[in-house]
């Protein structure tokens, strides 16, 4: 750096440069005005209570509430996760552990080369910041609104891949199974596969 920055001198920021005005200090209010506070609390007693009786009454969360994670699938049932570990790298709390593995024609879990063989999220560490979701290149990882995650043991709060995977919907097949005929992972990525093809069932 060629420019030498001079530290600002104290004189340059004089107090006088700021605009000042004296605040009008009102004296104490009269007795009646002071007593109005009593009416406020008294009247509040008969107002509707804001409390939600939580375990019995559950109010919906905000639409985009950061809850438990979910590993999504393509519409034919193949997993979206490619085991790239970007989520684990993005995680500031080091709550995600991913181990990728190569797909083969006999054992295909996701379109493309690789899939996530091990996928763990430790909910004792997770801070629900959502950086993992931003990092995911295939939108395999998203968050649900589910917030009731308390449990008794530490082990139960480490969620495995089975706990996180989205359920199979109509038209989906349980992987491993081959990709949709005559498609590449690009077609999958562009969301062109709308349902599974009968030929994909063979392996099952």
């Amino acid at each position: 750096m060629s420019d030498h920055v001079e530290p600002m001198k104290k004189k340059e920021i004089s107090v006088n440069d700021v605009e000042f005005a004296q605040i009008e200090q009102n004296g104490p209010k009269n007795l009646f005005t002071q007593m109005q506070g009593f009416w406020v609390t008294f009247a509040t007693m008969f107002k509707k209570v804001n409390t939600v009786n939580y375990p019995e009454v559950k109010e919906p969360t905000a639409e985009r509430f950061h809850g438990r994670h979910q590993l999504n699938r393509y519409d034919d049932g193949l997993e979206k996760c490619i085991g790239c570990e970007l989520c684990a790298w993005a995680c500031p709390a080091d709550a995600i552990y991913v181990e990728g593995a190569a797909n083969s024609d006999e054992h295909r879990m996701s379109p493309g080369e690789r899939y996530g063989r091990v996928y763990q999220i430790n909910y004792l560490r997770c801070i629900f910041c959502g950086l993992c979701i931003e990092a995911c290149p295939t939108r395999a990882l998203t968050m649900t609104n589910e917030y009731e995650l308390a449990d008794e043991t530490r082990a139960k709060l480490i969620f495995e891949k089975d706990d996180l995977l989205a359920p199979l919907r109509a038209g989906m097949l349980m992987p491993p199974h081959p990709m949709y005929p005559n498609t590449t992972d690009t077609n999958y990525y562009k969301n062109e596969i709308k349902s599974s093809h009968p030929s994909q069932e063979v392996n099952n």
């Binding site: 107090v15 006088n16 700021v18 605009e19 000042f20 005005a21 004296q22 605040i23 004296g27 506070g37 009593f38 406020v40 609390t41 008294f42 509040t44 007693m45 107002k47 509707k48 209570v49 804001n50 409390t51 009786n53």
Partner: protein, 413 residues
């Protein structure tokens, strides 16, 4: 028959039964009032309050009490062990003792004996209550001192200063009642209020008592001794388990005690409100007890209401209020009441009484006018200009002023 005559013939077993009843009642009231306070304050803050243990959360405080009893009982290494243990005992016994002279009901029949729900009736009953309350301060002071820790010491000092100063105002406010009732016995004071409650005829005394009883019980807005933000828990910071529970119990029994005393001295005690006198014979006289507790609960509600409404006072303001306002006002009021009483007892003509009363009113107005004048004068006098002294001094900083965000105009500098 007066209460004193009624209870004079009580056999020993009846006194024991009544003592147990009074004790049970106090403990029960404490449990209920803790629950009631939490529910009421919650309502004032648009919450529900405890509602899960039992119907409406009614046995919440019982559950809390059991939990407290099961906790580990810690005694700090630096504590003075004996006094540390005695202090909560002093606190709790004294506040129960003051109930001995409170008349809960008129004539009733208990186990076939005609009596009144009052443990004992001594001619100086109210003085007895005041003295017992003063002993209760020892509990607080000793607890603060024996903990061997700074916050409890500060809390103990504060609350003893507070209780002692407000006890003066409290005692003075009661003098007017003594003058009018001609007795210090609680039952006779109640009997003297058959026609007019002292809350009406001695209204200033009532107000002073009502204020000082809040100061006396260390309750919001005068809860400086337990100012959580400043002193952790005040004098009971180092206490845990049952010893803490005793302090907790003492605090609430104290509230009920001062409320009961206020009811006795100013709201006609166990008598029905004017116009409802026929209810006193219902349930064989026991209905008077319902009136008594209705009034006590009314006072308790005011306690809760104060807590829900007012922020905590600053310590110096609080002391100033006690010593410079409450005590002089009650002294002046006692003089007026005494003069009026002497005038009426000596059969002075009505004109003399009216003349005296109007002189007093005139004097009060004059004093008030003087105060207002002085206040205005103080407000309107500009600050004296500061001139530079002869000798060399460093330059003064410019006049301190604040930035006015709303207008942003250039003010004085």
């Amino acid at each position: 028959m007066t209460n004193a005559q009624l209870i004079a013939g009580d056999p020993g077993w009846l006194i024991a039964v009544k003592a147990v009843l009074v004790f049970a009642l106090c403990v029960l009231l404490t449990l209920m009032s803790v629950w009631g306070e939490r529910r009421l304050v919650a309502r004032m803050q648009q919450r529900l309050g405890p509602n899960r243990v039992g119907p409406f959360g009614l046995i919440q405080s019982l559950a809390d009490g059991v939990k407290l009893a099961l906790k580990e009982d810690l005694i700090p290494a630096a504590a003075d062990k004996v006094i540390f243990i005695i202090a909560p005992v002093i606190s709790v016994t004294t506040c129960f003792m003051s109930f001995a002279v409170i008349p809960f009901s008129g004539q009733v029949t208990l186990f076939g004996k005609v009596t009144a729900m009052q443990l004992t009736d001594i001619p100086v009953g109210v003085l007895y209550v005041l003295s017992i309350a003063s002993i209760g301060v020892y509990g607080i002071v000793l607890a603060g001192w024996s903990s061997g820790s700074t916050y409890p010491l500060l809390g103990g000092l504060r609350s003893s200063a507070q209780v002692i100063s407000y006890e003066i105002a409290m005692g003075l406010s009661l003098v007017a009642v003594f003058i009018y009732a001609g007795s210090m016995s609680t039952s006779e004071i109640v009997a003297a209020q058959q026609q007019w409650w002292y809350a009406v005829i001695l209204f200033p005394s009532f107000i002073i008592y009502a204020i000082s009883m809040v100061g006396e019980t260390n309750r919001a807005p005068f809860d400086l001794a337990e100012a959580e933000g400043e002193l952790v828990g005040g004098f009971h910071t180092e206490y845990s388990s049952l010893k803490f529970a005793l302090f907790f119990l003492a605090e609430y029994v104290n509230i009920i005690a001062v409320s009961a005393l206020a009811t006795t001295l100013f709201l006609g005690g166990y008598h029905a409100p004017p116009g409802l006198g026929f209810t006193e014979a219902w349930l064989g006289g026991w209905f008077t007890m319902i009136w008594f507790f209705a009034k006590v609960i009314l006072f308790f509600f005011v306690f809760v209401w104060l807590r829900g409404t007012l922020p905590r006072m600053r310590y110096d303001q609080f002391m100033q209020f006690g010593w410079k306002v409450l005590i002089p006002v009650s002294l002046a009021w006692i003089m007026i009441v005494a003069t009026l009483r002497v005038l009426s007892l000596n059969g002075a003509p009505r004109a003399a009484t009216i003349a005296f009363a109007s002189t007093v009113v005139l004097l009060v107005m004059l004093v008030n006018f003087g105060f207002e004048n002085a206040k205005n004068k103080k407000k309107n006098t500009p600050f004296a200009e500061v001139s530079d002294p002869e000798f060399a001094v460093p330059q003064l900083p410019i006049t301190v002023s604040t930035i006015n965000v709303s207008t942003g105009k250039k003010g004085d500098q």
